[in-house]
């Protein structure tokens, strides 16, 4: 960022915020008359006079330097070490549904490894006729598909089980991203190795692991493996980023992110689950009586208002206000999202930017006129199975407080009359 006081954008910001401070009313009415002529209009600005950058000034572009706060963020106290940790997508500052790779959350168990395409190998073995090894180049020769899917960590919103904890949609709901993937169906690769997909598949599983030190091995039932699991190498049109598994990661649509093995190196067809660390000691959900659910793979329908929210307060005063957020379901497509401004007493049905797509993020909008009164903003998603996103109270009644994972409760933001918002729980 430039620290030059004459930086035009900074000057403009100062002007705008000064104007707000001077007379908030002026900017809140749409037809307000300007008191003095705007120098940004009446004076020739440097950018209108000289040149900007030539082509090739940046060979691979990054976001505008004025967007420097739209970044992944970490909650340091959550984990002991950043190489086995997670950070959060700045969902409060994004719109649409596709998450740019550069700010899509990261979750590593032993760090993001550097693995060249030339050094990449994928082994398929176990209960197959012909155990095979594929190179990266081999994978690009199979017929491939494109699909948009969300990837949500099972622990997303997990810190909120016991009560409102983190003040921002990025921190409460940012363990999610949504990308367009290009890859080969796992079914194709299993068939290539001579696995008989028409045989008795009951009790058959695949065990999948990555090339990193954690390996993060997980077991996936064969029905899912043959249904829609993809072995992917591109996201949003370009190669996967290192932190998301370059060169190849597994995509397991609608199911918890921990199954989406990065740097995937091995797929073993087995007679049962391995019951690895990641599927026993972690990613199991303890209920109030001390028993724990296992194999809770699907991510249930969920939504959150991304703006206004604690990191995205209302700065423009009363008048037209766009309330927006994201909704998703791992068990189908979003069919409807309702928004409440009064903590769940009354609900209005929001507008979906596009019809919901299966296991992908859906953007919703409630275009409203804000009178400046306090709001308790909530959103409530429904998917095409008829499932309605539950309240935190409903979840706690069934599961208690110790589940950690799969918290898909309705979130409340208290928006005060000054436009600032905070994370609260309501009765």
């Amino acid at each position: 960022m430039s620290d030059n006081e004459n930086d035009p954008v900074r000057s403009r910001r100062a002007f705008l915020s000064g104007a707000v401070a001077a007379g908030a009313g002026v900017l809140t009415t749409s037809a307000a008359a300007a008191q003095t002529a705007d120098p940004l209009i009446t004076e020739i600005q440097p950018w209108a006079q000289g040149f900007g950058d030539g082509v090739d000034a940046v060979r691979y572009g990054l976001p505008s330097e004025h967007e420097g706060d739209v970044i992944r963020r970490n909650v340091e106290w959550l984990t002991a070490d950043t190489v086995s940790s997670i950070n959060f997508t700045p969902i409060h500052a994004l719109d649409g549904t596709i998450t740019p790779q550069g700010c899509a959350f990261e979750r590593h168990h032993s760090g993001a490894i550097d693995l060249k395409k030339d050094d990449y190998r994928l082994m398929i073995h176990g209960l197959v006729d012909n155990p095979l090894v594929f190179s990266y180049a081999d994978l690009e020769r199979f017929p491939r598909e494109n699909h948009v899917y969300f990837c949500e960590c099972a622990a997303n919103t997990g810190m909120e089980w016991a009560g409102a904890q983190l003040n921002g949609a990025q921190f409460t709901h940012g363990m999610i991203h949504n990308m367009e993937y290009t890859g080969v169906p796992l079914r194709t690769l299993l068939e290539e190795a001579g696995f008989d997909t028409s045989g008795d598949l009951k009790d058959k599983w695949v065990y999948v692991e990555g090339a990193d030190a954690s390996s993060n091995g997980r077991s996936i039932p064969m029905e899912k493996a043959l249904d829609d699991v993809l072995v992917t190498f591109k996201a949003n049109g370009e190669a996967l980023r290192k932190e998301h598994g370059y060169p190849v990661r597994l995509v397991v649509p609608g199911w918890e992110g921990n199954l989406w093995i990065k740097w995937i190196r091995r797929i073993e067809v087995m007679d049962g689950p391995v019951e690895s660390r990641e599927e026993t000691s972690k990613y199991t959900d303890t209920l109030e009586d001390g028993t724990s659910r296992k194999w809770t793979w699907a991510m249930d329908a969920k939504s959150v208002v991304t703006s206004p929210s604690p990191q995205a307060p209302i700065k423009h005063g009363t008048g037209p206000l766009v309330i927006t957020g994201l909704a998703w379901s791992g068990r189908g497509a979003i069919s409807r999202v309702d928004v409440s401004k009064d903590g769940g007493k009354t609900w209005e049905t929001a507008r979906l930017a596009k019809p919901g797509e299966k296991m992908a993020l859906t953007r919703f909008y409630l275009d409203t006129n804000w009178d400046g009164s306090e709001m308790m903003l909530q959103s409530r998603a429904m998917d095409d199975t008829g499932y309605v996103q539950p309240t935190k109270t409903q979840l706690r009644e069934v599961r208690g407080l110790n589940s950690i994972y799969h918290n898909n409760c309705i979130q409340t933001w208290l928006v005060r009359s000054n436009g600032e918002a905070e994370n609260v729980e309501v009765s």
Binding site: S135, S281, M376
Partner: protein, 341 residues
């Protein structure tokens, strides 16, 4: 060999191995060699499939553990800071914040062997021999009071060990217990009589500092609290400094009106309070004993405890290493003192 020849040779080799012995539909990939499968296929199933021949006991394991594991997991597998605790937590699964360890939670011992062999030690994964892994697993079992120190764990004796929580898991039952409840046309108007805020994230102040609005808010509320208590001669400046030091404690301890027991007990009213007195918190045995002996957390006792928790109270569950600076100890005590019951 010239570079050209070398790459030509590689190209020939690739061409040869690119033709699989048994062509699939696309004829892509090559046969996986037995040595390659053996190198990567290390998974161990709950029935013991994959367990290598080998053995080790807790006495050998203790030494290896001290060298290879204790830096993160503690000498007694009790875990240091945020690093995983591997021992303890028996019968805590139905309490607030259960302590989930190999002993209290893991259903299969095979999982421990599988994971340690492939992914531990942290930063040097896969460097342990099979016998070393057996010994480490034996030591973890010993730390959980599940075997004696002379128990020899091997592929032969592996299933002699009973995992306490083996029966503690059920397969995902959301379809039966939740989906039926939460399906159908939801309420749109008059859904509740009244709505009140019952908890605010700002009170906890555990959000990273990037959020300026949140920071200001909390400073205000802390100041307000400190002011309100000024009559009780709280040194506001010192307490404010203590609030900063308290960030070290927040991942485990809550304080204030809506505080709950987490990894550590609620600290509201701790100064000059009786030790071990917070309802619903499972204290360590040594702390319970001290409480039974009449320990009161005076400023002096608390200062001594905070300076070196494990030296002050051997066997304490508090894995914090301690506040070295006396100024920090005094500040945090003043901060704690500003929250009365």
């Amino acid at each position: 060999m010239s570079k050209f020849l070398k790459s030509a040779a590689v190209a020939v080799a690739i061409t040869l191995i690119a033709a699989p012995a048994f062509a699939g539909k696309f004829g892509l990939g090559r046969a996986a060699l037995p040595a390659e499968i053996a190198a990567w296929d290390g998974d161990i199933s709950p029935d013991g499939t994959g367990l290598p021949v080998g053995s080790g006991d807790a006495l050998i394991g203790e030494e290896i553990f001290a060298d290879q594991c204790a830096a993160c997991h503690g000498d007694f597998a009790e875990g240091i800071g945020n690093w995983p605790k591997l021992a303890g937590g028996a019968d805590t699964l139905n309490y607030d914040d259960p302590l989930k360890t190999v002993g209290s939670y893991w259903p299969h011992l095979t999982t421990a062997f599988d994971y340690i062999k492939r992914s531990m030690p942290y930063g040097n994964a896969g460097s342990l021999s099979d016998d070393e892994v057996y010994a480490i697993v034996a030591y973890i079992l010993y730390s959980n009071d599940l075997v004696e120190d002379d128990f020899v764990l091997s592929n032969e004796t592996f299933f002699d060990v009973e995992m306490p929580n083996a029966g503690g898991f059920i397969i995902d039952d959301r379809a039966e217990t939740e989906y039926a409840l939460w399906t159908g046309e939801p309420c749109m108007v008059n859904c509740k009589d009244e709505v009140v805020v019952t908890m605010r994230a700002l009170v906890l102040d555990v959000t990273p500092d990037q959020d300026e609005a949140a920071e200001e808010e909390v400073t205000e509320s802390t100041e307000a609290k400190v002011e309100a208590l000024a009559a009780d001669v709280i040194d506001a400046e010192l307490a404010a400094a203590g609030a900063k030091v308290f960030k070290k404690c927040k991942s485990c301890h809550q304080i204030g009106d809506s505080a709950k027991n987490r990894t550590g007990p609620i600290l509201t009213g701790i100064v000059n309070g009786t030790a071990g007195a917070v309802d619903g918190f499972r204290y360590s045995k040594p702390l319970k004993a001290a409480a039974d002996g009449g320990l009161v957390w005076t400023k002096a006792e608390l200062g001594a405890f905070l300076a070196k928790p494990r030296a002050y109270l051997k066997g304490t569950k508090m894995s914090f290493s301690g506040l070295k600076k006396e100024a920090d100890q005094l500040a945090i005590i003043e901060y704690l003192r500003s929250f009365e019951k």
